[in-house]
Symmetry: C2
Subunit: 316 residues, 2 copies
């Protein structure tokens, strides 16, 4: 299976449902919108439907207001395309024995993707948006400023603004093409990085007071308590990426975020490369990647902290 | 005057002093080292001498340990090249009537540069490093991984990791070339962004407690007191870029950093585009650019805060 099959299916079909994973981020939304805009531009009928809504920070994306939410689909399409979903369960509302379309097409850049579609375009790429761009080129669909904005945003967010290890010379080549086609790096970065609310910044201040680390400096952690949300008028969404602060400290190998939740603690783990934190998460019944993983654990604050930090020690 | 004159002078001369401005950052150090490595590779004798030392975060740059510090130069060179200096005073140790070389060459991307050199290559570019690259290409000097690392770092830091308004399609083209030539985006970003010490992060926590804003939300500020350095084992260097936190809040037009110093307050200003903060700084005897400016002011904390915030209001 390859890009050829996708091109064939797209050419011969008329109506498309495009969807992506729950808790969608830049690549999920950017790729879905880019594909929808591209297919619309050649006369196809396209709907983008997701289980979760577009995050506030991505609502600036062209056509993002056309994305609808659903928990199930009761219409049928000529084709259903999943974008950026490592497995079908990540979509949320789709079941393999109840696909609301004549064919299921799977486009994804996660190499662990097992190919759950009838046709699959799974390739190692900086972002799923790169695969969308490849498809567009092969279908002779022109880039518009709107499409370029969606693809640029996907790539920029997926590489942490060109800082992660997935950033290659190819990444910059695509970024260059997108900017030539009308994507505006400064405006996009302002939307993504400079739309903080004051509560989120105050929350960061409170959280950083909890910053601590092991004696050898290799494990560092921060803690978020429910009361901090109340004090600053924020919610758990606002904590996103704060784990990068302990991670950024020189010498740290494992960064941990302890997040108080209803019945226990949500733990996020980040590695600086040496430790595969997915192994650590597995021990607690969680999962993830080698660099980022997480799990849920019950218990009191001090007891949980000790258990998790002690476990991290064994992985160093 | 143009690049042609520079090429001519470089070709016919043998020994070079390369220097840059006080408080050097990524572009200053990256450009100086790239030029030094390039000229050395074609057999020239080159020394890089600066008034201030290489900042800790840039010591990973190839050959950065060859940069020497001086307050005056008592030898003579065939040519003295200033890189990234908007005017000669920015170098610190050079006086126009006492240049330790037969010719003064001025390479800079600040369009306000008046051309203080005997030959000048002043052109609007994302970073001075881009001009160094232009010179290299014209001299047929090949990129090495070391040179590419210096140029990439200069461009990456000067664009705030491709987020500032100076980021264009040309910027990405150069970044792509540098990565193809051996610059490693992830490693460089780790050196630049993930070498925090724990004190700096704790300092950020303390500073964010001081976060405040005007009733209309258009002016936001943070305050650093001397005691915070003592409490966290940090120094004023560690405050660098914290002003981006108030600046990142939605609705903020002017961000202000109040930094307690020996005899008063050092004020940094950042604009989100609407207000030209250099005009505001001028009123207090300071200076800067439209987006970033600063000044020094004496007085008590509350009084100074009121004066500066009141002044900001008049510029909205």
């Amino acid at each position: 299976m390859s890009i050829e099959d996708i091109l064939l299916e797209i050419r011969k079909r008329e109506t498309f449902l495009i969807t992506t994973h729950v808790n969608p981020e830049g690549d999920a939304i950017g790729s879905s919108l880019a594909l929808a805009l591209a297919l619309s531009s050649i006369g196809k009928k396209v709907e983008v439907i997701t289980q979760d809504p577009v995050p506030k920070g991505l609502k600036f994306l062209p056509s993002s207001d056309t994305i609808k939410q659903a928990k199930m689909i009761d219409r049928r399409f000529d084709a259903v395309i999943t974008v950026d979903c490592g497995d079908l369960e990540r979509v949320g509302f789709l079941k393999i024995d109840n696909i609301p379309g004549d064919i299921l097409i799977n486009i994804d850049h996660h190499v662990t993707n097992k190919g759950f579609g009838a046709v699959n375009f799974v390739e190692d790429a900086v972002a799923s948006a790169q695969l969308i761009y490849d498809i567009m080129k092969r279908l002779n669909i022109s880039l518009t400023p709107d499409i370029a904005t969606c693809i640029y945003t996907a790539i920029m967010t997926e590489t942490g603004s060109f800082r992660y290890s997935n950033t290659t010379s190819e990444t910059f080549k695509i970024a260059q093409e997108m900017v030539s086609a009308g994507a505006m790096p400064w405006n996009i970065a302002e939307q993504i990085f400079n739309r903080n609310n004051i509560g989120r910044i105050k929350l960061l201040g409170l959280i950083l007071e909890s910053l601590d680390r092991s004696d050898d400096g290799k494990i560092s952690w921060i803690t978020v308590k429910e009361q901090m949300y109340r004090e600053t008028g924020t919610s758990k969404e606002d904590v996103e990426d704060f784990i990068n602060f302990p991670r950024s400290i020189e010498g740290v190998e494992v960064a941990i975020l302890f997040r108080e939740s209803n019945q226990g603690w949500k733990i996020s783990l980040r590695s600086n490369g040496k430790v595969d934190v997915s192994n650590m998460a597995l021990e607690f019944g969680g999962g993830g990647h080698s660099m980022a993983a997480g799990f849920f654990i019950q218990g009191g604050h001090e007891e949980v902290k000790k258990r998790v930090v002690d476990s991290a020690r064994t992985f160093l």
